[in-house]
């Protein structure tokens, strides 16, 4: 039963994609009904699976899974199958919720039910429409997205990719889902392809993640060539891991470590870790539900999910208490560095979504770092909580932008950027639901103590880092956490508190229920989900709820990681950085009116440490130079063209030689025409008997009959 449902999980969104693309794309209502219906079906299936998984004792040893033979590879079969173990159960839980919330949210975000804008064209965001009420007053109102149905088709396909990835029991289908998401992120970031910035962002995202994907594919190939299988359960057999860990590969790494590193580069691309982080902020060009989808709920999570999934391989030969192996050190370094690095950039950003984008990079760095120090349960926990509150924040920011756009349309002042936080302010009163939910999400992101989910998951990372003696990581992450709280409070303060800084902000209004309901649902999870992972030894709260998450996800591995010893130091650190960051953030920005008054608008931070320029200088420019000077002018024009021209000339010469000396006299006249003439002559001779006159045929056949009868009688019958 469970297996059956798991197999079916990814299917409704796929069907929805094809239905919308092929049949219903004329009808917006039908299209979004199909898409949401499909998402709902998958959600339902996921919940059934999740609840059934909870009911299984020692679920880590009794997972749901089935596999079928798919591709014959000589004597063996490449199997594909589905697998729900504790880790994927936890992941599919949040995937189902966030996907459903985002689908519903999109209906409101794309102004379903509004008029069609007169100037709206596919490929550009809707400009708004003019409506007349019964008194004859004209109102500028938002207009419906011109490619409304297409959007739902794309996000359905995206959801299919994510479900496929999560329920895969092998690297191959995981990679398939991974690449489908890559394609969809390209399509969705470039959804408004009329904007050049969106086009560039789409290409950038695609190319950058492609770098990671190539390495990941190499890693998959390596795994397959070494183990002969891509199934997780095959690869993670102790004997196999032992062999992997004990076989040396290149650069002084073990095979396991090398494969882990290759796969991790895939994650670096997908989850936007330094140095491949540059695409994620640009991806904010897409519609906000896309940002939430890609950058919170699904795609970036997929990268982290993949490394958590491959943790046994990465950590092969390592066990708790031992020093980290090379791969884990690299992972921990990159994670911690990214966490701090992105946090610093986020501090100086003014675009509400860009702040969240860098914050995402930073938080993903937390997870990667936690994984690097072996705390994969903490990483998974943070993955889940982060998915909830970051989806909440993105959707909240979308709601803010939507409200601002409403204001912009109302005032008619189109010079105001509805995404710039310095144009906002005082929205607390205008958009109460958005404010409260955003506040919850922001506090969860900051790690506001006790109440929020972010606190518990972050605290666990700190505890693991401190308890296992990785002090460097601990300190770097603490600083990053402080910055996180700081810029989150800065964002909330600039957006919601104080007075409205523009007329547009004054006329902002609360968004429709289809956008606020998902916010409320997600905010419940942003608070409540943390309580499933409270450590048992935690003073005051430990033991109220059992540390369910640790036991549940920890069961994924054969040996459950033991819980770290409780210590007051990480607890106070996390309390301190969170509250301190929030306080300073409020303090610093409560009176700031314009970017000029912002002390932290340092050029290096605004320009994101000049990484785009660096890549432009180091990769793009040389590539262009090589393409222009070397490839085109030298290789193409001189070498290849010259060679081709030479070949052509000599071929021409040889051809005419053959033609005049061999073809014409011998083949054409002797063989060709000769044969033809023979056939023609014999045919024209024989055609006389093929007269088309039926009586001739009958006479001929009867003559033959008579002759044969006579012959038979006189010669053979012999009577």
């Amino acid at each position: 039963m469970e297996k059956f449902i798991i197999w079916l999980l990814p299917l409704p969104p796929l069907l929805s994609f094809f239905l919308i693309i092929l049949l219903t794309n004329k009808s917006n209502k039908l299209s979004h009904s199909i898409a949401i219906g499909a998402a709902f079906l998958s959600w339902l299936g996921s919940m059934v699976i999740f609840i059934r998984a909870l009911g299984v004792r020692e679920f880590g040893k009794n997972v749901f899974g089935s596999a079928i033979n798919w591709l014959p590879t000589g004597a063996t079969w490449l199997k594909v199958g589905v697998l729900i173990d504790p880790l994927s159960a936890a992941v599919i839980f949040f995937v189902a919720w966030t996907v459903l919330a985002i689908f519903i949210y999109s209906v409101g975000y794309h102004n379903f039910g509004q008029l069609k804008g007169e100037h709206d064209i596919p490929g550009l965001p809707p400009h708004g429409a003019v409506s007349k009420d019964e008194n004859g007053h004209q109102h500028n109102v938002p207009s419906i997205e011109p490619m409304y149905a297409r959007f739902f088709a794309f996000i359905s396909l995206f959801a299919f990719g994510m479900y496929t990835l999560v329920v895969s029991d092998n690297l191959l289908t995981l990679f398939v889902g991974w690449e489908i998401m890559g394609l969809c992120s390209y399509l969705l970031i470039g959804f408004w392809f009329g904007k050049p910035s969106a086009r560039n962002a789409a290409v950038k995202a695609f190319m950058t993640t492609r770098i990671g994907d190539v390495f990941m594919l190499l890693g998959i190939a390596f795994v397959y060539s070494f183990t002969g299988s891509l199934s997780f359960q095959e690869i993670f057999k102790p004997a196999m891991l032992q062999a992997l860990a004990s076989t040396p590969a290149f650069f002084g790494l073990t095979t396991a470590g090398f494969i882990g590193l290759l796969l991790f580069i895939g994650t670096v691309g997908k989850s936007a870790q330094w140095p491949l982080h540059v695409w994620l902020p640009d991806a904010m060009e897409g519609p906000t539900p896309v940002s939430a989808m890609i950058h919170a709920a699904t795609m970036v999570s997929a990268g982290v999910y993949m490394v958590i999934r491959m943790f046994p391989l990465i950590s092969a030969g390592w066990s708790e208490g031992l020093p980290l192996n090379t791969t884990m050190s690299i992972i921990a370094f990159i994670g911690a560095f990214t966490a701090l690095f992105a946090a610093t950039i986020a501090v100086a950003q003014n675009d509400i979504k860009r702040v969240l984008a860098y914050s995402t990079i930073s938080q993903l760095g937390f997870m990667i770092a936690a994984l690097g120090i072996g705390a994969y349960v903490a990483a998974a926990f943070h993955l889940v909580t982060h998915a909830f509150f970051k989806a909440l924040l993105f959707l909240g920011s979308g709601s803010v932008i939507h409200g601002m756009e409403h204001g912009v349309l109302h005032t008619g002042d189109h010079t105001i950027d509805p995404q710039n936080m310095f144009n906002m302010g005082g929205l607390r009163k205008k958009m109460p639901i958005t404010f409260w939910t955003f506040l919850i999400g922001g506090f969860a992101l900051s790690g506001f103590p006790i109440l929020t989910a972010g606190f518990w998951s972050k605290d666990e990372i700190f505890a693991e880092a401190f308890g296992n003696g990785h002090l460097t990581v601990f300190i770097v992450l603490a600083i990053a956490a402080f910055l996180t709280a700081f810029y989150t409070m800065r964002q909330i303060t600039l957006t919601f508190f104080g007075k409205s800084r523009t007329k547009a902000a004054e006329h902002a209004s609360e968004t429709t229920w289809s956008m606020t309901v998902p916010l409320i649902i997600l905010s419940l999870f942003a608070i409540g989900y943390g309580w499933v992972g409270i450590p048992e030894k935690f003073p005051g709260f430990g033991g109220i709820f059992p540390n369910w998450f640790h036991n549940f996800v920890g069961g994924t591995l054969t040996e459950t990681p033991k819980e770290v010893v409780f210590s007051w130091i990480p607890l106070f650190t996390s309390l301190g950085v969170a509250l301190g960051g929030l306080f300073f953030g409020w303090l610093a920005y409560r009176r700031v009116e314009s970017p000029a008054e912002d002390k932290l608008q340092i050029p290096i931070l605004i320009n994101k440490y000049y990484f785009d320029e660096l890549y432009n200088f180091v990769f793009v420019k040389p590539a262009e130079w090589v393409a222009e000077k070397f490839s085109y002018l030298f290789m193409d024009r001189i070498v290849i063209d010259g060679f081709l021209h030479g070949v052509a000339r000599s071929s021409l010469f040889l051809g005419s030689l053959f033609r005049n000396k061999i073809d014409k006299p011998i083949i054409n006249e002797l063989i060709g025409d000769g044969t033809g003439n023979i056939v023609k002559n014999s045919g024209s001779g024989l055609r006389k008997i093929q007269a088309g006159r039926i009586q001739y045929y009958m006479i001929a056949s009867l003559t033959v009959l008579v002759i044969f009868a006579l012959v038979y009688y006189f010669l053979i019958g012999g009577m």
């Binding site: 088309g692 006159r693 039926i694 009586q695 006479i699 009867l702």
Partner: protein, 103 residues
């Protein structure tokens, strides 16, 4: 019934060969069909004669004579329809002139 079976058979054979001669020698397509009718009748005479002389209880001979009637009717209907159709298009009923499909 003191006529030998061979009388019927010889009469049928003669009728058959006369029909055959008509089929082979006539120019007009309708006349060819007339010859075919004669041949079919010769066949029927044989069938009925065999039925009567060999096994009057089993009705095989008569049944197949009936079926030959049906075939003859169908053949004449379609054949004459074809001839009339050809006549309308090509203004001829001479079988030798209906040779568009030749070489």
């Amino acid at each position: 019934m003191n006529i030998p079976l061979s009388w019927y058979l010889i009469l049928a054979a003669s009728l058959f060969c006369v029909g055959l001669f008509g089929v082979l020698s006539r120019k007009n397509a309708i006349a060819i069909l007339l010859g075919i009718e004669l041949m079919l009748n010769a066949v029927n005479i044989n069938l009925v004669a065999f039925w009567r002389y060999l096994d009057p209880i089993q009705m095989a001979g008569q049944v197949f004579a009936v079926i030959v009637f049906a075939v003859a009717a169908a053949e004449v209907a379609v054949g004459l329809a074809l001839i009339i159709s050809v006549y309308r298009r090509r203004n001829t009923v001479v079988a030798d002139d209906i040779d568009l499909m030749k070489w």
